[in-house]
C-alpha cells in the first residue's frame, strides 16, 4: 500500500478538485469514436520514429475524428511533439503511415498538407506585422488581396487582435503573441489545427483563460484540434479524448472521465489526479467481486473489470474522494480500516485528510466542507475510520 501522487506536487491538490469527469462538458453527447460508420480524419497506422538507435515513437496506431479536441498527454521526452511533427510533415516516420481524410500523406511535404500548426515558441515572423503574420498562409495560396484582408480581419476579430493589427510581434505581450500565433494557425481554415504546448509560456491565470479561448475557437470553427501538453489538468479541461503516452508508446486513449475513473495502469492513475494504491494478490473470485489480500494484511472486496485469476498480483487504486472518513467504525462497511489523522489540507470547499494506518501507510481521503455537516469536525490526531464500497476502486494489473 502506498500513496501515489500526481507528478506535479503543486498542481496535485488543485487538480483533484477539478480533474474529475466532465459531466457538464459542452460536448458530452459528442462521441464520434463510438460511431463505427464514421471514418477518422486522422489515422496513424503503426507509426514508429527512430532517431539513430533511439525510438522516440513506438508503433503508434491512433484514430482521431472530425471536430475532436484531442490531447496528447505525457511526461517530457515521451514523444508527443515527435508524433505531432510527423503529422505536420516536419519529421518522416521510420515506419508506418499517416492518413488524413482517407488520403495517405506520409510522403507529402509540410506545405502541401491540410494541417496548420501553432508552435510552442509561437514562431511569429519578426519582420511582419500582426496582419502580415496572420495573412501569411493566405498569401501563399495566391488569394486576392481583398479576400485576404477579410479573412485576416475575421481571425483578428475572433481573437480580439484588431487594435494590434499594425504592430510587430516584439511589441506584443506574451498573451497577445499567443493569440496571434493561434489566429495565424486558423486563418487558412485548415481541417486540422496542431498545437504544440500552445500555452506553455503563459502564467497560470492567463493559461486558464487561454484554455477556454482555445475551446471556444475550436467549437466556433468546428475544426479538429490536436493539442500536445504535459499538463494533465489542461488536457482534462480542453480535450474530448486524451491519449496518454509513455516512452513513445500509447498507454491509453479515452475520454478525460474514463481516464480518471478507469486508468489502465498505476502510471496513468498517478499521472492524472491523486490516488491511493494498495498492492496485493487476488485471494478469491466470486459474485462479480474479487477479494484482494493486501500486502499490509488487509482484506479488500472490490469489483473488477479486469479479468484476473487467484494468486495474481494486482493493485487497488482509490481516488481520495471515493473514501469516506468518519470518527466511528461504520456499521456495515465492506472495506474499512482504522487510522489516525496526521495532516489536514484545508482547501475551502473541501479538505484533504492524510491518515496514517496501523501498518504505517499514509492514505489521503477527501471530504466536502458542507456547512450542514452534523458530525463533529475531524481534527489532527483524531482516530478515524476509512471506508469505501465495492465499486469505489479500480483494479490494476500493471
Amino acid at each position: 500500500m502506498g500513496v501515489v501522487t500526481a507528478r506535479d506536487p503543486q498542481a496535485s491538490n488543485a487538480s483533484s478538485q477539478r480533474a474529475g469527469p466532465r459531466t457538464a462538458a459542452p460536448q458530452s453527447g459528442f462521441a464520434p469514436w463510438k460511431n463505427p460508420s464514421l471514418s477518422p480524419i486522422v489515422r496513424f497506422e503503426g507509426i514508429t520514429k527512430r532517431f539513430d538507435d533511439f525510438v522516440a515513437v513506438n508503433d503508434v496506431t491512433l484514430d482521431i475524428y472530425e471536430k475532436e479536441f484531442f490531447a496528447l498527454l505525457g511526461p517530457s521526452g515521451c514523444g508527443k511533439s515527435t508524433l505531432l511533427r510527423m503529422l505536420a510533415g516536419f519529421e518522416r516516420p521510420t515506419q508506418g503511415k499517416t492518413i488524413v481524410a482517407g488520403q495517405d500523406i506520409t510522403d507529402l511535404p509540410p506545405y502541401q498538407r491540410p494541417v496548420n500548426m501553432m508552435f510552442q515558441s509561437y514562431a511569429l515572423f519578426p519582420h511582419m506585422t500582426v496582419e502580415g503574420n496572420i495573412g501569411f498562409g493566405l498569401r501563399q495560396e495566391g488569394m486576392p488581396k481583398n479576400l485576404i484582408a477579410e479573412r485576416v480581419d475575421e481571425a483578428m476579430g475572433m481573437l480580439e487582435l484588431r487594435q494590434f493589427a499594425k504592430r510587430k510581434p516584439n511589441q506584443l505581450s506574451g498573451g497577445q503573441q499567443q493569440r496571434v500565433a493561434l489566429a495565424r494557425a486558423i486563418a487558412k481554415k485548415p481541417r486540422i489545427v496542431l498545437l504544440d504546448e500552445p500555452l506553455g509560456a503563459l502564467d497560470k491565470k492567463l493559461r486558464q483563460q487561454a484554455q477556454f479561448e482555445l475551446m471556444r475557437i475550436q467549437e466556433t470553427t468546428g475544426t479538429t484540434f490536436i493539442i500536445v501538453t504535459h499538463d494533465q489538468e489542461e488536457a482534462m479541461t480542453v480535450a474530448s479524448r486524451i491519449a496518454v503516452m509513455e516512452k513513445g508508446v500509447l498507454v491509453q486513449v479515452a475520454t478525460p472521465g474514463d481516464i480518471y475513473e478507469n486508468p489502465k495502469t498505476r502510471y496513468i492513475a498517478g499521472f492524472i489526479g491523486d490516488v491511493n494504491v494498495f498492492e496485493g494478490t487476488v485471494s478469491a473470485i466470486g459474485d462479480g467481486c474479487i477479494e484482494i489480500s493486501a500486502k499490509d494484511g488487509y482484506q479488500f472486496k472490490t469489483r473488477s473489470s479486469e479479468p484476473v485469476s487467484v494468486g495474481q498480483q494486482v493493485w487497488l487504486a482509490l481516488r481520495p474522494e471515493k473514501i469516506r472518513i468518519a470518527h466511528e467504525q461504520p456499521a456495515s462497511a465492506v472495506n474499512a480500516i482504522p487510522g489516525k489523522v496526521e495532516d489536514i489540507g484545508y482547501l475551502g470547499s473541501i479538505s484533504h485528510y492524510h491518515v496514517r494506518t496501523a501498518p504505517g501507510e499514509r492514505i489521503t481521503a477527501l471530504r466536502a466542507n458542507a456547512a450542514h455537516t452534523v458530525e463533529r469536525p475531524i481534527s489532527w490526531e483524531d482516530g478515524v475510520w476509512l471506508d469505501w464500497p465495492v465499486d469505489a476502486g479500480v483494479v490494476l494489473t500493471g
Binding site: A88, G89, F90, P109, P110, Y111, Q112, R113, V115, N116, M117, F119, S121, A123, L124, F125, P126, H127, F136, G137, Q140, E141, K168, N170, Q171, R184, K188
Partner: protein, 300 residues
Amino acid sequence: MSAKANGLGRWYVIAAPYLWLLIFFLIPFFIVFKLSLSDVATAIPPYTPTFSWSEGIGKFISQLDFENYTFIFGDPLYVNAYLSSVKIAAISTVLTLLVAYPMAYGMARAPKSWQPTLMMLVILPFWTSFLIRIYAWIAILKPEGFLTMFLMKLGIISEPLQIMNTTTAVYIGIVYSYLPFMILPLYASLEKINPALLEAAQDLGSRPWRAFWQITFPLSLPGVFAGCLLVFIPAVGEFVIPDLLGGSDTLMIGKTLWNEFFNNRDWPLASAVAVILLLVLTIPIVLFQRQQQIERESGR
C-alpha cells in the same frame, strides 16, 4: 566616495574611444585637410605655406585656398577615377555577396559541432600576409600561370587566359580578399534565425525557395548591409590589388593618390584627393546608420 570613483571610472570608459578617435583620426584628418589647402613647392617638406610663429597665424591662414579642389573637379581624370573606383567597389561588393551568401548559409545550417571549425576555415587566410596572398594570385592568373595550365590540361581552353592585368583580375582579387568580411556578419545574422520560423512558413504553405525569400533573406538583411559596408568602403580606396593585379585601364582612386603622392610629390593635391575620398565614403556609412535606425525603431 565609491560613487564618485565609479562616476570617474565611467567617464574614462566613455572617453577612451573618443580619445582614440581624436588622436588617430581627427588630428591626422585635420593635418591632411590643412595640407590639402596648401600649394605644392620644391622644398622640404614639399608644400607651402609652413607655419612659423614669427609670421603669425593670420598670414598663414590667408595663404590657404581651395585651389586643389577646383583643380580635381575640373579634371575628368580625377572625377573618372572616383567614379570608376565606386563602380569597381560596388560590382566587387555584389560579387562578394553572391559568393559569400551561400557559404554563410551553409555554415549556419551545418551541424552545431562543425560551426567553429568552419568559422576557423573562413578566418584561416588571415594567417598569411595579405601581400603574399595577392602575389599568389599573380602566379595563378598570369598567362603561363596555374589556372591557364590547369584549364589547358583539361582541354577547356587552347589559348592562355588573358585575365592578369585586367579589371577582371581586380574583381577576383577583391572578392577573394574581402570574402571573410562578408561571410562573418552574414553568418552571424543567419545563425540567429529561429529554424521554427522556416517550419512555420512551410507549414503555412510556403515552398522552401519562397520561404527563403520571404523569411530567411529579409531577416538576414542586417548582415547583408554590414557585410556590404565592410567590403565596399575599403574596396573603394583599395590600392594594392589594382596595382598588382590590375592593368593600365584599371582606374582607381587609390592608385591616383599613390601617384600624386610618390611620383608627382604633390602632397597637397594628394591630400585633397584623400579628403574627397573620405567624403564619398561617408555616404554609404550614413545610409547604413539610417537603416540601423529604422531597424531599431521597428524593434528587430
